[in-house]
């Protein structure tokens, strides 16, 4: 049997392995990010100082720095790979159907992964401009401990209804992306087992809705309570 193979680079299956690995890595990143955000539930001077201390730690601690570069890399890989997959998939059917009943056999989220991913990418760009850019290159004031005042920047952003609304919509899009993607990644990596797959599907579906629900809860809290007004 003559063998020719593109191995782990370039073949259709390999492209999906990279998608799944980068996607699952980003899922773990979401957990870390959410744990940080939960500190925003503590208002007042005490919460502000603690959050800014955390912000200082996250931008200076070497291990976190390395992790953040891996995260940028994962977003880049996931995006470029996703675009390549989507282009190939489109090219595989140059002429479509006149009548097509896609909802008869596949979930909405699974059919809209590229759209939901693009929405997420747009959100990431806006989000990084709002906080990451300002933290690294913007002109932030300092708090009583001398740390950059990321807290005030954050709570002020979410006092604006349109910013909070955009955030909630984008995170909902991410939830749908994950409702298919988080469990699909296991199938991509070859994990499908009569005993474990139902557990994986249940766990990852819960993950897909609960993690975004946490982000949304923080945003809604900030908008409703407006902790920046009391300081």
């Amino acid at each position: 049997m003559a063998t020719t193979s593109k191995g782990l680079f370039g073949s259709s299956l390999a492209r999906k392995y990279w998608m799944a690995i980068s996607g699952l890595f980003l899922c773990t990143f979401l957990v870390g990010h959410l744990l940080g955000n939960l500190q925003l539930f503590v208002s007042g001077e005490e919460g502000k100082l603690a959050f800014n201390e955390y912000g200082h730690f996250m931008t200076t601690f070497p291990v976190v720095k390395v992790l953040s570069w891996i995260t940028y890399g994962a977003i880049f890989l996931h995006t470029v790979d996703g675009i390549m997959l989507a282009l190939q998939n489109r090219a595989a059917r140059p002429e479509g159907y006149v009548k097509e009943k896609q909802s008869a056999n596949a979930s909405w989220a699974s059919r809209k992964m590229a759209l939901l991913g693009t929405l997420t990418l747009f959100f990431i760009v806006v989000h990084m401009k709002s906080f990451w850019y300002e933290m690294h290159f913007g002109e932030l004031g300092v708090d009583a401990n001398g740390n950059k005042d990321l807290w005030s920047l954050t709570v002020k952003a979410f006092e604006q209804w349109w910013y909070a609304a955009f955030y909630v919509i984008a995170i909902t899009g991410l939830a749908f992306h994950l409702s298919h993607g988080a469990q699909s990644a296991f199938q991509t990596l070859g994990i499908n087992h009569p005993k474990y797959t139902p557990i994986i599907k249940m766990t990852m579906t819960a993950f897909a809705w609960l993690i975004p629900a946490g982000f949304v809860a923080v945003a809604v809290f900030l908008y409703v309570v407006q902790p920046g007004q009391n300081l």
């Binding site: 191995g7 073949s11 998939n89 991509t188």
Partner: protein, 250 residues
């Protein structure tokens, strides 16, 4: 029953096609879908119109020759059924039925509803076999022990008739369900082991060369497959390819 048929007509591979409307009456519930098309073609021939070209052979759900995208679904509205086994009682008098060819770059249209599915044959030729000499020195099938579960799974995979409904229904025109079934039917059995790595690497490579899309795990193929081929096969192919890529000699 009276029906309005909207059928894709296209004179040849390079020609532009379009949907044409054919009202038809006198269709009986007991006709199979293909018999209904035969009946239409009789009428068209009588009226001096080119009959509609469509693929078929066994008409008993075992050969994989029939195709057709009917009312937005491969092999029509039924589950685990080929177009030749679909009957007109699934429709109501007065219905409009859309009949289109399977759509994929890798399945070019020959004429009207007939598409060229030889890309599947080339995937099969790339590794869907075992290299043994079967002339005169055949070994007794029971000489090699096979676990019952694996024999059953290999048999299930081997029931794929190569119809291409999985490709037609997939939003990416992906051939993963077909290819994974054809790989699994060997990789589950001891006889398939010596060439297992080369097989999965070669067949996936050929599948990519043919211009099929990638798998988004939507699961549409499994729902529309007339033989109920399971997504488990795609996962098996995914892990076999991963391990073969990491451990092959080339």
């Amino acid at each position: 029953m009276d029906l309005t048929l909207k059928i894709w007509r296209q004179n040849g591979p390079q020609e532009k096609g379009e949907m044409k409307t054919y009202p038809i009456s006198g269709v009986e519930e007991d006709m199979s879908f293909l018999e209904m098309l035969d009946y239409l073609n009789d009428k068209l021939i009588n009226d001096g119109i080119e009959p509609v070209v469509f693929d078929h052979d066994c008409r008993e759900g075992i050969c994989g020759m029939c195709s057709l995208f009917i009312n937005g679904e491969a092999h029509g509205p039924g589950r685990k059924v080929t177009t030749c086994q679909l009957h007109m009682r699934e429709f109501k008098s007065g219905d409009t039925i859309y009949i289109e060819p399977f759509r994929a770059k890798a399945f070019p249209i020959v004429k009207d509803l007939m598409v060229d599915r030889s890309a599947f044959d080339r995937i099969q030729r790339a590794g869907g076999f075992i290299s043994v000499n079967t002339s005169g020195n055949t070994i007794d099938a029971n000489a090699i022990p096979v676990p019952k579960e694996n024999a059953d799974k290999a048999f299930d995979a081997a029931t794929c008739i190569g119809c291409g409904a999985c490709v037609a229904t997939c939003k990416n025109s992906s051939a993963m369900l077909f290819a994974s079934a054809k790989i699994s039917q060997f990789s589950l059995l001891p006889q398939g082991q010596p060439e297992a790595k080369e097989r999965v690497l070669s067949m996936v490579n050929q599948m990519d060369l043919e211009g099929f899309g990638n798998c988004t795990n939507t699961g549409a193929c499994e729902v529309e497959c007339p033989k109920g081929i399971s997504l488990e096969n795609i996962a098996r192919m995914n892990r076999d390819y991963l391990f073969a890529s990491l451990s092959s000699n080339k």
